[in-house]
């Protein structure tokens, strides 16, 4: 019995930590309807500024907090002014991508300045422990809880009773109306970003002290947990974010209690998916609200796609097909093989995210399903590799669609959050389902690619194989887009309300898009498995999903040729930037930001 008290207390303590990030996210979402993926990076920056203050300058705690808050707020203001404000009249997906780009840039800047080694960030509070149940809590626990609750309370008062707070709420409800009423929306955004960033920075500092450890990899985890907590509490709802965080902490803690430590995040993400499916507006939203106005043409950039003449495509395909006859190095071929594999994933994602508008952040899960299926089919059942890969594609299509189907009723950013969670769930199931997936040990000795008994071992034959598979998938997808299904998918993307009013079932067509797209992604994963000969749960990670999305945006949403072009560019560029070594991810982030700013419809335009 006492153990349950301990699990509860531990859950609340961790929830407390999550709340600090979640409140900042909720505030920003409340005003700009934006999930700020850079919040974790501000948290990282805050932690390191705090480290400089504490370890180098020996500031006392109150001064440290003020320094961190002010410096982080400045970072927030810079992000708002130069990263997001120029995108104000842009499509709604643009700021989301911009925050991802900003987080790359901030994380890399911190890493380059202070080196990626973890650092100790000693607590400046006396080390007194209070016995509660079987465990203890210290002054830092209380301080974190105090800061979390106080900031939520202050925000509540600020939003309710101050003039600027009133403006913030008005802007949150109806930006245009607020503008007409004379609200300076830019000032509101500045205020909100400043406050949220200050809060994010201070939370990084406190959490760093709490664990006596900060490192540059902490930003993504902070963002993930913060986003989960925020969405569970109801996006944009500040008190909801606090309660959502505590709930998340509790669910994780009880999950550990019942199933063990390695199931912890599984429960976090399951909670998110369940809440999104049952209460898409969060636990604390009123059940029935007016149906939201459509995002017609605002989530996806309207554009006239660049028309590439058929002969040019044929020439390009022909050139790539005969490339191995020229004296190119295997390194170039291998890089292009990677591009073709990423291209298949991008084809899949451009259909799902671009053509039917389900911006998925968990697409790597489809790769993983295809890879594991194909690897296991060939190893356990000695299936010929060619058939195993097709089996991987089919499994990805079926299982992927089934897993993602609960999110079919969601819209906009919620789809991205749900798919992100589903991606994490797939990876965690692979980690824990040891009897099938061999858990963390992974699957080794996967047979190499072969076709009709003829092993494809040389880079040239693998090059041709992957190129041909990708071209076939691209042609099929082109044919699909030219059919009534292409039309129907795009209609659902542009306005799902109007589409339903004309008899288009969202479930049916979203399923079909995921089935087709899942197959392409599964095939890509299957080929990768046989190419690498070894896979484990880390082979297909969140970074892959984000990379694929960047490819799709770069090429132009829904654009088949664009997806392939984007894949070649994003596999090729980092290789070209190899000379820049440590700086290349920084460059990548900046390129992404510039792209979102100056060509949000992608290189070849949305189709």
């Amino acid at each position: 019995m006492s153990s349950w008290l301990d699990y509860t207390i531990n859950g609340l303590i961790v929830g407390n930590v999550y709340a600090l990030v979640a409140v900042g996210l909720a505030l920003i979402f409340g005003v700009s309807r934006l999930i700020n993926f850079a919040q974790g990076s501000i948290y990282l920056v805050g932690a390191y500024i705090g480290w400089v203050a504490v370890v180098q300058l020996h500031t006392p705690l109150p001064v440290t907090i003020i320094v961190v808050a002010v410096a982080s707020a400045l970072v927030g203001l810079i992000i708002e002014r130069f990263g997001l404000r120029p995108l104000q009249n842009s499509v709604r997906i643009a700021p989301l991508l911009a925050t991802i780009g900003i987080s790359f840039v901030l994380d890399q800047l911190v890493m380059l300045t202070v080196s990626p080694n973890p650092r100790a960030l000693p607590s400046q509070l006396p080390d007194i422990r209070f016995q509660i149940g079987g465990g203890t809590i210290g002054p830092l626990d209380l301080l974190i809880a105090g800061v979390g609750l106080a900031s939520a309370l202050l925000l509540f008062v600020f939003l309710r009773y101050s003039k600027l707070g009133w403006a913030v709420r008005a802007t949150a409800q109806d930006r245009d109306a607020a503008m007409q009423m004379g609200v300076d929306v830019n000032r509101v955004n500045q205020a909100v970003f400043g406050i949220a960033a200050a809060l994010g920075g201070v939370s990084g500092l406190l959490v760093g002290m709490y664990y006596n450890q900060i490192d540059t990899a902490m930003s993504l985890q902070a963002t993930l947990k913060g986003v989960v907590a925020e969405v569970v509490g109801g996006a944009g709802n500040v008190p909801g974010a606090v309660i959502g965080s505590l709930l998340l902490g509790l669910v994780e803690s009880y999950g550990v209690a019942v199933f063990g430590t390695s199931y912890r995040n599984l429960f976090a993400f399951l909670l998110l998916v369940v809440v999104l499916v049952l209460r898409p507006n969060g636990l604390f939203a009123s059940a029935r609200q007016a149906p939201p106005e459509p995002l017609t043409g605002t989530f996806i950039a309207p554009s006239r796609p660049v028309r590439i003449p058929r002969w040019a495509l044929l020439v390009a395909a022909g050139l790539f097909a005969v490339l191995p006859f020229f004296p190119v190095s295997f390194y170039v071929l291998q890089t292009l093989i990677n591009a073709w594999l990423l291209g298949m994933l991008a084809l899949s994602l451009t259909l799902v995210a671009g053509t039917i508008g389900q911006v998925s952040l968990g697409h790597a899960a489809l790769l993983a399903i295809g890879a594991y299926t194909s690897a296991l089919l060939s190893l356990t059942f000695s299936a010929p590799v060619g058939l195993a890969i097709i089996g991987g594609g089919l499994m990805s299509a079926a299982l992927g669609t089934a897993l993602i189907s609960p999110s079919f009723r969601l819209r906009g950013h919620y789809v991205s959050i749900a798919t992100l969670a589903i991606g994490e769930i797939v990876s965690l199931v692979i980690l824990n389902w040891e009897s099938v997936t061999r858990g963390p040990i992974g699957i080794s000795g996967i047979p190499p690619l072969s076709l009709f008994g003829y092993e494809l071992i040389s880079p040239i034959s693998i090059y041709w194989f992957s190129f041909i598979v990708m071209v076939v998938l691209a042609l099929l997808q082109g044919r699909l887009l030219g059919s009534h299904l292409g039309r129907s998918f795009r209609a659902i993307r542009d306005d799902d309300v109007a589409a339903r009013a004309y008899g288009l079932s969202l479930n049916r067509y979203k399923s079909l898009a995921f089935i087709f797209g899942g197959f392409a992604a599964g095939v890509s994963g299957g080929i990768a498995a046989h190419l690498y000969s070894y896979i484990n749960h880390e082979t297909f990670n969140t970074q892959q999903s984000i990379l694929a999305l960047t490819v799709v945006i770069l090429g132009g949403l829904g654009n088949v040729v664009g997806a392939i072009l984007g894949a070649v560019a994003l596999v090729g560029l980092p290789e070209v930037f190899r000379i820049a070594a440590e700086y290349r991810i920084l460059i990548y982030g900046i390129v992404l930001l510039l792209l979102v700013r100056f060509r949000p419809q992608g290189l070849l335009g949305t189709i």
Binding site: P291, S303, L485, A498, A501, Y502, G503
Partner: protein, 280 residues
């Protein structure tokens, strides 16, 4: 029994609340086959919410919707579209990135047969297969519908036909409204709900639109119309229903309704806009 045959749409006690606000308050309405009823009322009177309830985009808290004698309360919009109910939207919801042709073809979606075999369970997969393989029957159906679309677009003279391959986002506001109506017509509706079809149109365009609606009515189409331009309402409507704050405050032939003191009160009380004043 006779009433059953002539009544196409009937609403009884239809109610929808948002928090403390009752947007649609116990509305009764009977629409006979071939009839055109206009719903007027100040902004926020609940007209569009009423449309949403009839077309399944929103569910009522109380009341019943009957279509051709069948209780369709709470049916999904997809199902209602298949039953022959088509609507346009107040804010002009065209599919921005789709061409004019594709927008109108979406209207014909419920009439696709060859490519959507009515096979249970694997129907969707067959649809995917047929879309990729495109046998002759599928091609023929698509061609036939494309021809039909051109005929529908020809109703708008030279407004849309020259722009048939342009994306809808590039069209003028008035042309987007026309595309919406063309899309609704492609469904071959039994009941057409028009939500302010002339909003934002100049007098010439309004006159054209009025002519078109009159034409549709003459062809026997049953129409429910939300409109602010009273002159048009008076010309076209068999009956007029006035809503205010969710309630039906008057119903009857246009002229009678117009003189109803409650109606005048509702309009004056909410402040008459210049446009409505001059139109009235």
């Amino acid at each position: 029994m006779a009433e059953q045959h002539t009544t196409m749409l009937s609403l009884r006690g239809l109610t929808r609340r948002f928090g403390g606000l009752t947007a649609v308050d116990a509305i009764d309405l009977d629409l006979a086959r071939g009839e055109l009823i206009s719903i007027i009322g100040p902004n926020g009177a609940g007209k569009t919410t009423l449309f949403n309830l009839v077309t399944g985009l929103d569910r009522p808290d109380a009341g019943i919707v009957r279509f051709e004698g069948q209780d369709i309360t709470g049916f999904s919009p997809e199902r209602l579209a298949a039953a022959g109910i088509a609507r346009t939207f107040q804010l002009g919801r065209v599919f921005g990135n789709l061409s004019v042709m594709d927008n109108v073809l979406i209207g014909a979606h419920t009439r696709l047969r060859a490519v959507k075999p009515a096979v249970p369970l694997i129907g969707p997969l067959l649809e995917l297969g047929l879309a990729l393989l495109r046998p002759a029957s599928v091609k023929a159906e698509e061609e036939r519908l494309r021809e039909e679309v051109k005929v529908i677009l020809a109703r708008f003279g030279e407004r849309l036909l020259p722009r048939i391959d342009q994306p809808a986002y590039s069209l003028s506001y008035a042309n987007r409204r026309r595309v919406e109506i063309a899309r609704a017509l492609a469904l071959k509706p039994r009941l057409l709900l028009l939500d302010e079809p002339t909003a934002g149109m100049n007098p010439t365009e309004t006159a054209e639109m009025q002519g078109l609606v009159a034409e549709l009515k003459a062809e026997g189409l049953t129409i429910l119309l939300i409109e602010h331009k009273l002159e048009m309402v008076m010309r076209l409507s068999d009956r007029v229903i006035v809503m205010d704050e969710g309630k039906k405050i008057a119903e009857g032939p246009g002229e009678a309704v117009r003189k109803d003191p409650k109606v005048i009160e509702a309009y004056l009380g909410h402040g008459l806009t210049k446009e409505q004043e001059s139109a009235a």
